[in-house]
């Protein structure tokens, strides 16, 4: 539960070799790590044709009240009888009423999640993984770049930082999607655009009638925006192809690899570093990640 200040530097440094992972710096589930907490869906939000957001409440009120996580940590959401899949908890930790997951329909489990309605039971194994080292970012400017469903993990850390605006410099968001219809959190975006603490830019891939914002692929729009890399952390998430070209754009703009942070996903089963699926070399996305700096990723085998 407690976060130790000294441990927070870990995520910014290359991961130690030969080290048995210490995780006293992160909230973790207790008890049997394979046993989910039973939870009830309290709200389903249709974000786009492919994305739904679920709000769930853990059935045990004591567990729900004690539930604590850091922004960027993930959970294994399960539909009993179908299976489990990993999603970031995208509601900010200050919000204690429910846990929010945004899910893009892609396979069997996500299809089952999309069939859920209010009152349905799900399983939640959370929190898992590491988190954004936001304490280390104090005093810095933060530039978020999100593509498609990649906005979900950025939502939680962005809202978390906006609650602590005094500790940070300028906070910016570049959010891109294929079309306006593919933008999740559309009901919040107006608020983001008018938030004086946030410099929010939206873009879509191709022109669309009535669209008042930028048109273009995220890396190109980013190059035009040309954020100043001085004292700035770039945080990005999106589909692999967007990550690839956005990393190139950020490097072109002068961002150092240690100041570029992303959060990864891979196929996962156990979520606790054993089952052997989500590894990049000797590191496991489920316990060493999902949050990595580009510098850390550059030190790992190139197998994303």
């Amino acid at each position: 539960m407690a976060t130790k200040k000294t441990k927070n530097a870990r995520a910014a440094e290359p991961l130690p070799k030969n080290a048995v992972r210490n995780c006293s710096d992160r909230p973790m589930p207790s008890g049997n790590p394979y046993k989910p907490a039973v939870a009830t869906v309290t709200e389903v939000i249709h974000e786009t044709a492919a994305i739904k957001t679920l709000r769930v409440v853990l059935d045990d009120p004591a567990v729900m009240a004690a539930f604590h996580y850091e922004p960027g940590q993930v959970g294994q959401l399960s539909v009993f009888g179908v299976g489990e899949s990993t999603f970031v908890i995208n509601s900010p930790p200050s919000q204690k009423k429910y846990l929010q997951f945004s899910v893009m329909q892609a396979g069997e489990v996500t299809a089952a999640i999309h069939r859920l309605t209010t009152g349905d039971k799900v399983g939640v194994r959370a929190p898992l993984g590491n988190f954004f080292p936001w304490r280390d970012w104090r005093g810095k400017n933060i530039f978020f770049v999100g593509g498609g469903i990649g906005i979900a993990p950025l939502r939680v850390i962005m809202l978390h930082l906006l609650e602590r605006m005094a500790d940070y410099g300028k906070i910016s968001l570049l959010y891109g999607a294929r079309s306006p219809r593919d933008m999740a959190y559309s009901y919040e975006i107006e608020g983001w655009l008018h938030n004086h603490d946030l410099d929010c830019t939206l873009c879509i891939d191709a022109p669309f009638e009535g669209w008042r914002h930028k048109v273009g692929l995220i890396p190109n729009v980013l190059l035009n925006l040309a954020p100043d890399p001085t004292n700035c952390i770039a945080v990005l998430c999106g589909p692999p192809i967007m990550i690839k070209f956005t990393l190139q754009a950020l490097e072109k703009l002068g961002f150092l690899p240690e100041n570029i942070v992303t959060t990864l996903e891979k196929r996962m089963k156990c979520g606790i570093g054993i089952c052997g699926r989500c590894n990049i070399g000797g590191r496991y996305i489920c316990i060493d990640g999902p949050v990595f700096t580009l510098k850390q990723l550059q030190a790992l085998p190139q197998e994303l």
Binding site: R21, V38, G81, D120, K269, I272, I274, G281
Partner: protein
């Protein structure tokens, strides 16, 4: 000196019977003659003929069953309001206290390989832990190696005690039993076998002779770094893995492979509910890392075999300080295309890069 007992060959059934009083099951190697003769571990019953041969399939199932229930989920409807469904979960581990009789030192060391990620990681695995803590391992030392054995390359040997509770050595028609762990000590003290200290020197001599019969082992100290450095060398991995059929025989027969899958079975309604299962998985399958989006970081067999070799000789050592290969050689002797992991490791060591 640790407790030493002698077990005459005609005393074996009585000793196994003694072990089955102490454990819920005693796994022994028995011959299975289907279309191909194989030796596998099965629960001992009185009258069962036991062979003291190296098993075709290691006794890994004693701690990591091929398929096991992680939890059962039971859904029940409120008869007053059928939309109101409650879910109850049961996660009690299925763990029979087990003795393994006459596995080989490579297989016993396999348990140590599994112990590290399952017991010493961030999250101890409660199912593995329950079985491991009630496991007693009787290992029989090897008198010689076969041409696929390479236990002495990877830190083991024909009489390595690592992972064993009792080490047994065959002397003529008898077995000398030597306690290794406190659990083994307690068991041997408790049994009514005669003291065997006077034949210990003969067992020592037999063990030394077994060691001496092995060809010298290459030095694999540089293997982790060399293999890691070769990661991006596609030509190397392609040439080393071109014969692979991705059948996965190597992973299923490995005492140190532990990748698994988790799947649900049943919707949860009904008397027995549904089950969340853990089953052995196979990193040689392209579906192993196949993501719902269609993306697959290890779509081709080359990166998959690279991952397997790297895990055993580079990344597991990076995390845990020791190879996750015990040199049992089953992946070599059972490979349909005779792929030899030793050759890949040696080629990596020889590679100039």
């Amino acid at each position: 000196m640790s407790t030493i007992r002698i077990l005459a060959s005609d005393g074996l059934p009585a000793f196994l019977s003694f072990l089955s009083q102490k454990h819920q099951r005693v796994l022994v190697p028995v011959v299975k003659s289907a279309n191909k003769r194989s030796v596998i571990f099965e629960p001992w019953r009185a009258g069962m003929p036991v062979v003291l041969e190296k098993a075709t399939v290691p006794p890994k199932e004693a701690v990591l069953p091929q398929c096991e229930t992680l939890l059962t989920y039971k859904k029940s409807k409120n008869q007053e309001d059928l939309g109101d469904i409650t879910v109850s979960l049961d996660d009690t581990p299925e763990a029979l206290s087990t003795a393994i009789f006459a596995c080989r030192p490579c297989d016993a060391r396999g348990f140590r390989v599994l112990d590290r990620p399952f017991l010493n990681g961030l999250f101890p695995d409660p199912y593995y832990k329950a079985r491991r803590e009630s496991l007693t391992v009787f290992t029989i030392t090897c008198s010689s190696g076969c041409n696929t054995c390479f236990c002495h390359w990877v830190g083991g040997g024909p009489s390595s005690p690592e992972g064993s509770d009792v080490l047994m050595t065959k002397i003529e028609e008898a077995l000398m039993l030597q306690a290794i762990s406190p659990a083994g000590e307690a068991l041997l003290k408790d049994c009514d076998l005669p003291d065997g200290r006077d034949i210990f020197p003969r067992a020592e001599a037999a063990r030394k002779a077994a060691w001496a019969s092995l060809a010298p082992a290459p030095d694999l100290k540089q293997a982790p770094q060399k293999i890691a450095a070769l990661f991006g060398n596609d030509d190397f991995w392609q040439s080393q893995t071109s014969g692979c059929l991705s059948c996965g025989a190597c992973t299923y027969l490995c005492p140190a492979c532990y990748c698994f899958n988790i799947t649900d079975e049943g919707d949860g309604f009904g008397v027995h509910g549904g089950r969340r299962l853990r089953s052995w998985d196979n990193c040689m399958s392209s579906l192993f890392t196949h993501e719902a989006s269609g993306h697959n970081p290890r779509m081709l067999k080359t990166p998959r075999m690279r991952n397997r070799v790297s895990h055993k000789f580079s990344t597991y050592p990076e995390n845990w300080g020791t190879f996750s290969c015990n040199g049992c050689g089953r992946c070599i002797s059972n490979c349909p295309v005779s792929l030899d992991i030793r050759a890949i490791v040696l080629a990596a060591l020889d590679n100039a890069g």
